[in-house]
Symmetry: C2
Subunit: 341 residues, 2 copies
DNA sequence: CTGTTAGCGCGTTCAC
DNA sequence: GTGAACGCGCTAACAG
């Protein structure tokens, strides 16, 4: 029922090898024979079995993409962009959604991608052990999150510069009590929250503002977490007049908490996010914009390039830094003279 | 460099077939031999080549998932849930992101999934030709969008009932000029907008409200489209006092347009959405909630069941309808006595 | 319970 | 330019 290469060969009156060469555009086939084979193949609806061709050639024409949570806007957007680049180049995408610690562990111990992919794009930060597991695959590796790591091409942004622009904006508006909602509950090797926190502290110090630990709360990178964190900050003896959230989703959670506390934004409290989520504009959120889709596409392109030029084998994979910029909208303003309450 | 089944066989002092049987949990291997083989395999870091085993067995343990746009919340969420079910059952997911007409066409003509997947979950609505192409794969098919179609298991919701609850809510609040932002620019075979529109018309008729075509606008299922559509509706000679948007994203666009026109929600205009987007709560949007992740998970489960019981082969695939409910939040209220302007 | 023998469908030498 | 052999790594049928 399923048509194989020999069916095409028979129908075209040639051998299987000629069909193989003809269809893949390899030299050594006369133009007329090639055209005739193409016609027969099309008419029969023939597609080479990927399993068989992978087995024979060693190439899978498949890229593994590892994601912590596809449903989250950031990852969905990166994946979307990366997939487009891969598919345009004739590669399929095998998706691994590693939300829970169990699935994650199972993935890295069993490594189902072994012998199945030509390269891996990881949108989650592998720890040392996980990195080693991926490296053992012997295929090009890339990531769009976290800092430099041996064996990985990394496409990222300048987290410190982004954070600095956001926090400095608040300082310039006249805020002195500036809170932060971080996403620090993640794994220790996850550098982004660390970088952003350090930049936050640096700007405060630079402005001569004393750091108050009561003004930091963990938002877990989710809307709900951001809401909880904001509620926590509001419960401080001296609540902040402005808040920097390390992601837009947490910032939106903060907005919700503020609304529930009947506090006005930005009159009572200013809020800045990070990402420029597609809906940031809807809620008027001031935020640090980063090219999310751009990072996915760029990482995909770099991966494909490594696949095309195996000579870059020896050299360390590259690092690319994409531009960021502060987008001013409606959630920031000078502090109210009478404070948040 | 890559360890094969014969390496394991040699190291364990048995034959390749015994290794195969042992590792896949097939009967006919003594417990001690099985344990020993497992140990050797683990120590060598052996994983069976999917290509080779698919070629030999005919099963790929891979599911193809076809999506119009992974980055969109709805699809990302469905995919996320479905992937979890598939991977828990030992299946990998091949993702096809068919945003543009060209990629879509290429996919359905070349059918790269042929001989590569055991089943297909389609999150986009295939037209007749595309459906036929998928059916020609000879594998179980499912979808979570659109109405019944031959050969497909469909998991969906009652679009009419959902719409009715939303529009009726507006009627009950006292609105008479109720606009609709639809997503009708899609392909003709896409039944959802049609169903929702009909339900909208029915409720109006039922309430003795004359339908005004100037109160309908197309929002293209996007935030920007929703904003444009709302702007259009506001330009009508007698603008609506309430609007039903066929998706939350369009509703959010409408909210943005209203804010730009300095109109208050719900005081000047009420807005109801559809979906219960994860951020609907953040903006206080009243909406028709549907179990998005639930539909993805259910469709995945039904697909796996068909894979387990090929005897259901002859019977028509099932249809499942998931529950919906109206979630009242802060964007709806009785009409202002003096109208929107 | 275990080993042997055949392919699965294709790509890749080699000959011709 | 083209065809015949061989092998990729594994599973399935058959022996024993």
């Amino acid at each position: 029922m399923t048509v194989s290469i020999t069916d095409v060969a028979r129908a075209a009156g040639v051998s299987a090898s000629t069909v193989s060469r003809a269809l893949r555009g390899r030299p050594g086939v006369s133009d007329e024979v090639r055209a005739q084979i193409a016609a027969v193949a099309a008419q029969l609806g023939y597609t080479a079995s990927r399993s068989a061709s992978s087995l024979a050639s060693g190439r899978t024409f498949t890229i593994g993409v590892v994601v912590p949570y596809v449903g989250r806007w950031f990852f969905g957007t990166v994946l979307d962009a990366a997939e487009k680049v891969f598919s345009a180049a004739g590669y399929d995408v095998l998706l691994y959604n590693l939300g829970s610690p169990e699935t994650r562990k199972r993935f890295f111990t069993k490594l189902p991608v072994r012998k199945r992919v030509d390269a891996v794009l990881s949108l989650l930060i592998p720890d040392e052990e996980e990195s080693a597991a991926l490296r053992s695959l012997g295929v090009p590796l890339a990531t769009t999150v976290g800092g430099a790591r041996p064996g990985f091409t990394v496409v990222g942004i300048d987290d410190r510069a982004g954070t600095e622009s956001a926090v400095r904006h608040l300082v310039n508006l006249g805020h002195r009590r500036i809170g932060m909602i971080s996403g620090s509950s993640g794994p220790l090797h996850w550098t982004t929250p660390v970088e952003r926190r350090q930049a936050y502290l640096d700007v405060l110090a630079d402005a001569g503002i004393e750091h108050d630990p009561a003004l930091e709360a963990d938002g877990d990178y989710t809307v709900e977490g951001g809401e909880r964190a904001m509620t926590e900050l509001l419960a401080a003896s001296r609540p902040p007049t402005a808040v920097f959230a390390q992601s837009d989703e947490m910032a939106m959670g903060a907005l919700r908490a503020l609304r529930r506390h009947r506090l006005r934004v930005p009159d009572d409290v200013s809020v800045v996010g990070f990402d420029d989520h597609e809906l940031a504009d809807v809620v008027g959120l001031t935020t640090v914009a980063q090219p999310v889709a751009g990072q996915g596409a760029e990482a995909a392109r770099l991966l494909l390039r490594q696949l095309d030029e195996p000579d870059a084998d020896a050299g360390q994979p590259g690092q690319v830094q994409m531009p960021i910029r502060l987008v001013l909208r409606e959630t920031t303003a000078p502090p109210s003279p009478r404070g948040p309450q």
